[in-house]
Each structure stands twice: as C-alpha cells, then as structure tokens.
C-alpha cells in the first residue's frame, strides 16, 4: 500500500524549480532510498514529506489524506512522520531531555518519558551519555542521539537524511543496523537519502534516483526483492 503519492509535485526556491517529481509512490513498511548528487533535491523532498515545507504545485497524498499546496501542512501530520536531518542540532540540555522532548510535546508524563528516552538511547548505544550535555557530543554521537530522539516517538514514517554522512564506520554500522531493525521488527516505513552509498543497496527495498530535482531515467530505479544483510 502506498503511504505517499506524488503527482507533478514541484517546489520552487528563489524562483528556481528545485524539485519536479512527475509521479512517485512510497510504499508503507518498506525502506525506500533516495539517491542523487548534492543539490539533487533530496533534502527539499524530505522536508516536504516531513511536512516541514510547503510544495508549490501538484499533489501530495499522505495515507489517503490529500494535502494542498496552498496551505501549510497540518501540524497533526508531523506527529506521524519524523525527520532526522543531515546535520542534526541538539537543544542545550541533557541528552535524555533532548530525547524526551517529543514525548513531552505529546503529553507523556515525566517519569514515563525519561524511561522511554533511556530505552531509545540504549537502542542506539548511547545510554551511558543520558546525563551528558547534548551540544557537546561528537558528530557521530549526535546523529545517534538524533535517531533516538526520533524513534522514541515510534513514528509511522522515519525520514533519515544522509544518516551516515560524516560518520565513522562503527557509528555507521550501528545506525544502519538500527534502521534495518526498526523496519523489520516494527514495520516502520523508512525513507533514507544518500548522495552516493553502495550500502543503500544492502538496506533498501526500493531505490529512487534523483538529479536536478527530477527522478532520473526510470530504468535506473531499482527495486530490491529483499534487503540484504548489512
């Protein structure tokens, strides 16, 4: 079943079309990879799919709900799709408070949200940093905490923009294993981008190639029968 459906979706930035997708459907409970060079429109697309940016033309349907390009997306949808940006930023508080932030927004009681935050941190191997100042973490640690901050919310859709960019091999393995596990065990729909990563083929069920904001030659669109082991 398609979770996202896009038809003639276009986004314009400073008078320039940065995204122009003729037709695309993203399946539910699978990992879809978006590949393309820098500036190919991946981040713009993810911001639209995470309901953080408006698109300017065309149509976008999320889980049967059509979204208008004339209005800002309803904030309720943001509770269903969470974006982990390419360069995540931490609020100036402890790691556990950062991870618990989204739960606080959802009205989860304090004791429960700290417990859940610790569970999520444990999943990314960062439990030992729970009390540490979040803005002092290294790049790889920040990415893992950002991932914990997203998965603690158990979203239907997890959008990871270049999750392994600038990350060492060990942290990359941890992140990719977690993404694969979230999809396999919880059926979470995962959308992931990379500008050039052979490891995506070992992780994703579907692969979409973008260039200059467009889906390139459909022949290049790969569909993997099953993700390979990382």
């Amino acid at each position: 079943m398609s979770l996202y459906k896009m038809e003639n979706l276009r986004a314009v930035l400073n008078g320039r079309t940065v995204l122009d997708i003729e037709s695309l459907a993203v399946e539910q409970s699978v990992i879809t990879a978006f590949m393309g060079p820098n500036g190919s429109g991946k981040t713009t697309l993810f911001n639209i799919l995470a309901f953080l940016r408006r698109f300017h033309f065309g149509s976008l349907v999320f889980d049967g709900v059509p979204l208008s390009c004339r209005q800002a997306p309803p904030s309720s949808l943001r509770q269903r799709a969470v974006l982990v940006p390419q360069e995540p930023i931490m609020f100036s508080s402890s790691v556990e408070k950062n991870v618990a932030f989204g739960l606080k927004c959802r009205g989860v009681p304090p004791v429960q949200r700290i417990k859940k935050a610790h569970q999520a941190l444990d999943e990314v191997g960062m439990l030992g940093f729970a009390k540490a100042a979040a803005h002092r973490l290294s790049g790889g640690e920040t990415k893992r905490v950002a991932l914990a901050r997203a998965i603690v919310l158990e979203p239907e859709v997890l959008l990871c923009d270049e999750p392994t960019a600038g990350v060492d091999a060990r942290n990359r393995r941890i992140i990719l294993e977690l993404i694969a596990r979230l999809n396999a065990q919880r059926g979470m729909t995962v959308l992931i981008t990379s500008h050039n990563a052979p490891w995506l083929a070992g992780l994703a069920h579907h692969c979409v190639h973008l260039d200059f904001g467009r889906i390139t030659d459909p022949a290049l669109e790969n569909t993997f029968s099953a993700p390979m082991a990382i």
């Binding site: 940006p85 609020f91 989204g102 919310l153």
Partner: protein
Amino acid sequence: MGFFWDSFVSAIHLLLAADSELIHIVGVSLTVSSSSTLLASFAGIPLGLFLGFVNFLGKRVVITLFQTLLALPTVVVGLFVYAFISRRGIFGPLDLLYTKTAIVIGQTILIIPVVTVLTLAAISRMDKRYKDTALTLGAGPLTTARAVAWEARFGIMAAIAAAFGRVIAEVGISMMLGGNAKGFTRTMPTAMALEYDKGEFVLSIALGLILLALALGVNGFLQFFQGKARQ
C-alpha cells in the same frame, strides 16, 4: 583628577553613611526601572517572538515601525503619557501624575520597542534547525517558540539588560511624569540633574558613579549567569 577623586570619595562616604535620602533615591530608581523593565519584558518578548515566527501582511512595516521607535526621545513619551494622565486627560481621575506609577508607565512605553527589536534580532540569529527540530518532533507553534526562545535566551537577556540600561539612566520621563519630588519620585538621574543645577557637581558625579556601579552590578550578574549557563 582631584575633582573626580573627591566625587569618588563622596560617593563612598554617602554609601558608607547609608544616607537615608540617597538610599531612598537609589531605591526609587531601582523600583521604577525594575518594574518597567519587567513589564516591558512581558510585552516585548512575546512581541519579538511573534514577529520572529509569524508571517503576516505588513510585517516589514511593523518591524520598521518598532525599529524607528528605538530612537523615541524620552520627552516625547513623557508628553504623550502626560496628555493621558494629566488632570484634563482621560486617565486624569486616576491621579497618576507625579507618582512612581506614572514613571513606570512612561518607561515601559519607552523600552517595549527595545525589548521587542532585540528579541527579534536574537531569534532571527538562531539556527533555523532549532525550529525545524522542534516542529518535526511534534511541537506546536507555542512549544516551538518556547524552545527556540530558550536557545536564544542569552540574546533575550541582553535585550532585557539593554532595556534596563535605557531606563535606569533616563531623565525626561522621570522628570515630566514623576516631577522629581523629594522623598517620592526622585530618581538618580533626576537628582543628578537637580544637583547640577544647584552647582553641586561633586554630589552629582557621586550619584553618577553609584549609577554606573549599579549598571555594572546588573550586567556583571547577567554575565555571571550566562557563564554558568554556558558551562
């Protein structure tokens, strides 16, 4: 040099002697300035956040208007408020003229633009990712604004300090709306102006030194707090 030294010694003597008139003047200054800064913060911080987060038609005009009001002369505010609270004004029956409340009202009007514009500047300087992070984690507009404001807290504190600095040293409003009544509405700057008129330069400069020391104390406190928070 000797002139300044005499003034400094006079200031120390006045403080050590806990001169009741001086203590009262300092107390009035601190009370009205703190009250107006607090009230202006309650109005100016949300206004700055609103201008920083919400897009609406004519927003640039509103921002330009607030920026223009930064240059508002104190006597203009004094005259404006006077028109409302004098006997013939619509708030005349409230008998506010020549009271500390009148000074607080005038000073609050004076520094609301200061707090608003500097809060807006602090918010505008913030990394856009804070807002996006809060939004994608499911925060509503108010929670997002609060989260970004917390990250911009040092800039907002600087806005409050600048506003306090503007009112603790202003003369026009205090003189026009407070009347410089001894024992009631005399503030440090109005007392300094009076002493200068009387030719009491030493006392005037002594009061100026105390005023500077107070400003230094407030800013030192803010710096200490910022340093602690950054650790």
